[in-house]
Amino acid sequence: MNDILVTAATRVGNPAVDEWKAEGKGIIGHVCSHVPEEIITAAGLFPYRLRGIETQSTSIGDTYFGPFICSCPKAILENAGRGKYSFLDGAIMVQACDSMRRLDECWRKAGEDYPGIVPPFFHYMGVPHKVTDYAIDWFVEELEKFAAALEAQFGGKVTSEALAEAVSLHNETRRLLIRLEEMRAMDNPPLSGEEAMTLILAGTAMPKSVYNPLLAEELDAVSGRDGGHGGKIRILLAGSVVDDLAMFRTIEAEGAVVVADTVCFGSRDYDGLVEEENPSFKSLARRYLNEQFCPRMFGYYQKRLDVLKKKIADANVDGVILQNIRFCDLHGSENGLFERDLEAMGIPCLRVEREYGPLGDEGRVRMRVSAFLERIAQAA
């Protein structure tokens, strides 16, 4: 696999970031799958999804956030506080979930103690929790405000041509990732879940224009290859945000292969295209509200269950691992519903609670996963 992709997937900084900066162009960090990245791209900027990877502790995060908060935003703040996000020219905070939206004030407050860690452009955006015509209208206004703020700060103009171009660029990424998903669904997938996730993660930390050709190349290279994953137990990973490889590694080290997922950073980001004909903020608003795979969109459980069932069928999944980060009640309790409904259909499920990626303890997760795989093997 191309080194740049691996670095982008596993490190906060990567050569694509450096190159972009060297060209004097701006980077905007964001934290949620409901942020229409196309607007950032159309403004001539590079949307970079923030992660808390490479953190050792959350000492800075814990100074501002209280104790009963998901460790993901804490880890992001940790990176910000340590200056790892100094390459950002702006950040956009959204009402993703409650833990994540409080990153807004915590980051700003930390800026009082650690000068220079708050990017010069810091924008708060609301995202509706429902889909009605007035919610979409409201969201369109919010997007207009966001675009105007970007224009005021960075001077670029979000023209309709630029938007159309950005939409087709991002849709191109989505199409490629859907192709990847189809490869994973094969009987003997040419790549492991870990490899697939590496490819996916890289895209969140690179400009799409740089990423797309590299991804296409990788997909061509592996297509038709014997990945040696035939006959393994096939797992779908669902639940809280997964933005590193540890979880995949743990599961696959026990002899299974992760063939599908519904997590943030995974399929949640690429499912659903934006209409390409005369794209407008309204088409963006529709795409970003209509794909409701996150339980922050209240009242759409049935729809999410259907998506999950479809993925299970498409990828011929043997078991579903429903994980949640501690204090993530949104995913944690939806996992409870999924478990009830999937088990009733005869699909084995495992619920695990864990800490955010790099802060997690593999040992305890491994024990549960291995017992789960035994259970599936026994039933087979």
């Binding site: 088990e343 619920r351 695990v352 609670e353 024990m367 549960r368 017992a371 035994e374 259970r375 026994q378």
Partner: protein, 263 residues
């Protein structure tokens, strides 16, 4: 055929030597830092108790937290599967197993054949583990054996912060400071433990009979409180020490493996 099981847990290591349906010998020791050494020692002790040589053992399986570190076993099986098999052996009517060990607590439901149908393990917090009881016993200045008996003598058990071992510890001290009796506080400790376990057991969807294994099964206070909370009678193995269930299960699965059935 003689088979053996070796269960290297977080706190204790256990070994059992089995001939047919008869336990020839067993041993329990404190694990601590060297699982290889602990496994070796406990296995040797069990062999000695059984009065046989290692060469007589047809197959030995490992389980428990340190299972990957046991040098002499021919394979490993998860604790969940081993405790289920062990419970079946000790209490043939068991359909649900609650296993409370030193560092976690698991509830497992089995099918008629003894296969694991569903299991849950607490991943949240150490409250609800054997270690919780050890810490509490230390503060109350009683032995683990005595802790269970306190419940019977209690008049008005206190309510304890059950969300965290350490917070509960603060509570225990606070109660003792304000003059509550050791019996009432001890009963509060056992109840808090039972409450956490009950939730787990209920979530897994218990089917009778429910059998309890692991070291904490020896704590009468927890068992009684749990029975009350679950409105169910809990079977405590009498045939052998419930703490040995995991090792017994491993020995049984070893036999199946050696006979070429499964595993």
């Amino acid at each position: 055929m003689i088979t053996a099981g070796c269960d290297v847990g977080s706190l204790t290591s256990k070994a059992v030597v089995l001939k047919g349906n008869r336990i020839l010998g067993s041993a329990v020791i404190r694990s601590r830092t060297r699982p290889e050494a602990a496994a070796r020692q406990v296995f040797d002790e069990a062999l000695a108790a059984a009065g046989i040589e290692e060469a007589d053992v047809a197959c030995c399986l490992g389980t428990g937290y340190g299972m990957k570190k046991i040098p002499f076993v021919s394979g490993t099986k998860s604790e969940i599967a081993c405790h289920a098999a062990g419970a079946r052996f000790l209490a043939p009517s068991a359909m649900t197993v609650i296993d409370i060990g030193g560092q976690d607590c698991k509830a497992t439901r089995m099918d008629k054949e003894g296969n694991v149908e569903r299991f849950l393990a607490n991943d949240k917090c150490a409250a609800g583990t054997g270690r919780f009881l050890e810490v509490m016993a230390k503060i109350l200045d009683v032995t683990l054996d005595e802790l269970g008996a306190l419940s019977k003598k209690a008049r008005a058990p206190v309510t304890l912060a059950s969300t965290c071992t350490v917070w509960a510890q603060a509570d225990v001290i606070q109660y003792l400071n304000s003059g509550e009796t050791v019996q009432d506080v001890g009963a509060g400790v056992n109840n808090a433990m039972a409450a956490r376990v009950a939730t787990l057991a209920n979530s897994v969807g218990m089917a009778p009979d429910v059998c309890m294994t692991g070291g904490v099964a020896k704590n009468q206070g927890v068992v009684r409180a749990l029975e009350k909370l679950l409105s169910i009678r809990i079977v405590i193995p009498r045939k052998a020490d419930p703490q040995l269930a995991g090792a017994i299960g491993a020995a049984i699965l070893a036999r199946k493996a050696a006979e070429g059935k499964g595993a």
